[in-house]
């Protein structure tokens, strides 16, 4: 069967903040750019970001990019690459002001400058005192970013392919990336997108966990496609848990709530964060807070009849501030927890929130993979940015608001790298391999013809339970080893999923089966990587190895999905211009 081919200079998979920022760069440079998205661009998961975007603008209090960098390195628990972190923190003021000029409606101070508020982990003077660094557009920062960037892209004539599901990456015999296959939901037809350069900006994979703040679309498609194309994944053991997901629902209560004065209480009514983080208290970084909460619950000091959550109290900050600064939070609490935070505290639990690992890139957004003994050789024509990528700026733990920043900094940087590559190295399309669509066709045919298999929803639920139980906030050797065995067995079942509805057009069951192929790759990667890392660092808290072990473990994990083997590569310890920030104990 012949598959139609569409040709572009650049193809971007994903229309969240990262994909749109990159697309804008490319389209404005006059390149023919396609953006493929499985949902309408402004319904990408970036729309969920409420808390804000960080930049050391210093509009409220003195701030410097060096302090932002220090916080990010410390937050990463010294696993972040310091060249990439310097690049991001230095670029931050510029890219945020650029967004402002694009028309993004940031909250303002009386003097007209962008309003900034304090946020967990944002400190002045290298970790000394909290500083206002988060810029926000009410509690709709992500929404405002998407709308602003989408409008600009329409103006710049980016071509959007909306409700198209990218299936697989196309690499030629030399390993260069020359396109992707994608399925148009409206027709059920597959098309080959032939491109000089491809960017993945497919977002996170939080749906591998049973308790997750992520929308249903966050299925790690870019990671699955990479694994199937022989690209390794980096640092997949590191998942950030948001401390405050509404118990039982997963819906997020933004960290801004604690920035504005909300505090956590255990079953004894104690403000327990004072014990775990005497300085930052409730504003300590996410993993510190999540771990403290998990410990309180584990040690019997939880709340409620099952003592399975803690409480987030904010009645003391007053109804006016709750209404003006945190308008969305009250509704969430009423709807999903059944409490009004003006009067009563909100029940919360640590909930999977953000994926630190992903497709390995350098700070230019170029995908890099090991080759001939060099751990970081550029994969020609392949780029990644945003949550699906690992630059690595977040290392073992991301600071709140650094993700939106990551999207625009590395979306833009990747766009620029692609422009260079297309102009200087790939002025013409490289030929497609003869069998460009065969692999994807075989996957679709498998689903079409499968008999005697299992329901997608059942396999997915078992995967989510396994990952939650074995690779959650608390980890130990026994649990992880069991998890590896269990998830491998579940992965076998995922190969035989069956769908009843075999129709072609807008077949959500078929899409969910294809998404599960991606989720399961991420789930296996997570357990295999986590089981191997015998230390505690950032979000990877290992009960049997409670300390960070820099000599042996200050290195990035690389997971090869085809062999399920691991390799490691060094952390970049040379910033671009300043001195190395040497490891210290990470206390808040």
């Amino acid at each position: 069967m012949t598959v139609p081919v569409r040709k572009f200079d650049a193809v971007i998979v994903g229309a969240g903040g990262a994909g749109l920022r990159a697309a804008l760069q490319l389209s404005e440079a006059g390149l023919k750019t396609a953006v493929i998205s499985k949902v309408f661009p402004t319904r990408s998961h970036t729309v969920a970001a409420q808390g804000g975007i960080s930049a050391s603008l210093g509009n409220v209090q003195e701030d410097k990019w060096e302090w932002h960098m220090y916080d990010t390195v410390k937050g990463s628990d010294w696993l972040g690459d310091q060249d990439a972190i310097e690049f991001m923190c230095r670029q931050a003021p510029e890219v945020v002001v650029e967004l402002e000029h694009f028309g993004m409606p940031f909250d303002r101070l009386e003097n007209g400058k962008i309003y900034q508020r304090p946020f967990g982990g944002h400190m002045a003077n290298n970790g000394k005192t909290p500083v206002e660094r988060a810029c926000a557009a009410a509690d709709r920062t992500g929404h405002a970013m998407l709308h602003t960037l989408y409008q600009r892209n329409v103006r710049a004539q980016t071509q959007f392919f909306v409700e198209w599901l990218a299936l697989d990456l196309i690499r030629d015999a030399e390993g260069d990336v020359v396109g992707v296959t994608a399925l148009e939901m409206e027709t059920g037809e597959m098309v080959v997108f032939h491109a000089k350069a491809v960017l993945f900006a497919t977002g996170g994979s939080g749906r591998i966990y049973a308790a997750s703040t992520n929308a249903f679309i966050n299925t790690g498609d870019g990671l699955g496609m990479s694994v199937r194309a022989g690209i390794p994944l980096e640092d997949m053991e590191f998942w950030q848990f948001h401390p405050t997901g509404v118990a039982g629902a997963g819906v997020l209560i933004t960290e801004g709530v604690r920035g504005e004065g909300g505090i956590l209480l255990n079953g004894n009514g104690e403000r327990f964060m004072e014990r775990y983080a005497p300085n930052a208290k409730d504003l300590a970084s996410r993993d510190v807070v999540s771990r403290a909460m998990a410990l309180e619950i584990l040690e019997g000091r939880g709340c409620g009849k099952d003592k399975d959550h803690v409480l987030l109290k904010l009645d003391h900050i007053g109804p006016e501030k709750i209404m003006s600064k945190l308008p969305g939070i009250r509704e969430i609490a009423i709807k999903f927890a059944g409490v009004d935070p003006i009067k009563d505290p909100i029940p919360v639990v640590p909930t999977c929130h953000y994926q630190m690992g992903g497709i390995p890139t350098n700070y230019k957004g170029e995908v890099v993979a090991p080759k001939d003994g060099n751990p970081e050789v550029r994969v020609n024509g392949f780029y990644a940015a945003g949550e699906c990528a690992c630059a690595s700026v977040h290392g073992a733990n991301r600071l709140g608001t650094n993700s939106l920043l990551d999207l625009v900094v590395f979306g833009k940087a990747a766009g620029n790298s692609m422009i260079d590559f297309i102009r200087n190295e790939r002025p013409a399309l490289k030929p497609l391999p003869a069998n460009a669509a065969e692999f994807s066709q075989a996957r679709l045919a498998r689903l079409e013809n499968q008999t005697g298999g299992e329901e997608v929803a059942d396999v997915r639920a078992d995967m989510q339970k396994c990952v939650q139980l074995r690779a959650g906030v608390f980890r130990n050797s026994e649990n992880l080893a069991r998890g590896v065995a269990e998830i491998k067995a579940i992965a076998e079942r995922a190969k035989r999923t069956q769908i009843k509805d075999k129709s072609r057009v807008f077949n959500t069951a078929r899409i969910e089966a294809l998404e599960l192929d991606n989720l399961i790759e991420v789930a296996v990667a997570t357990l295999v990587c986590a089981e191997a890392r015998k230390e505690s660092r950032g979000a990877h808290a290992h009960d049997d190895f409670p300390d960070r072990h820099d000599e042996e473990w200050m290195k990035h994990t690389l997971y090869d999905g085809q062999s399920r083997q691991l390799a490691y590569k060094p952390v970049h310890t040379k910033p671009l211009s300043i001195d190395y920030i040497a490891p210290q104990k990470r206390v808040y």
């Binding site: 949902v39 319904r43 969920a48 409700e163 409206e186 997750s212 929308a215 819906v251 969305g328 959500t508």
Partner: protein
Amino acid sequence: MDELELKRMVWRSRRGLLELDLQLAGFVRDVLPTMDADGQTVYRDLLLVSDNDLLEYLNGKTVCPDTRLVPMIERIRASRRTD
């Protein structure tokens, strides 16, 4: 609404916000097919609303200015959350 349109509605009920997924997934699967053509058309139009606005309407924080959509919003609000 024909079967194809209903299927389109199922996919378009996948949103950027978990809160909406939690409220719409069950509704579109269980309730929408039982509604009359007018009701289904209203639901289709409701899905054109941006995620943050839709969430505010469903949370009762603001009232949807399009009065045609209001009964549908109330109906979804009254239905139980399903995942």
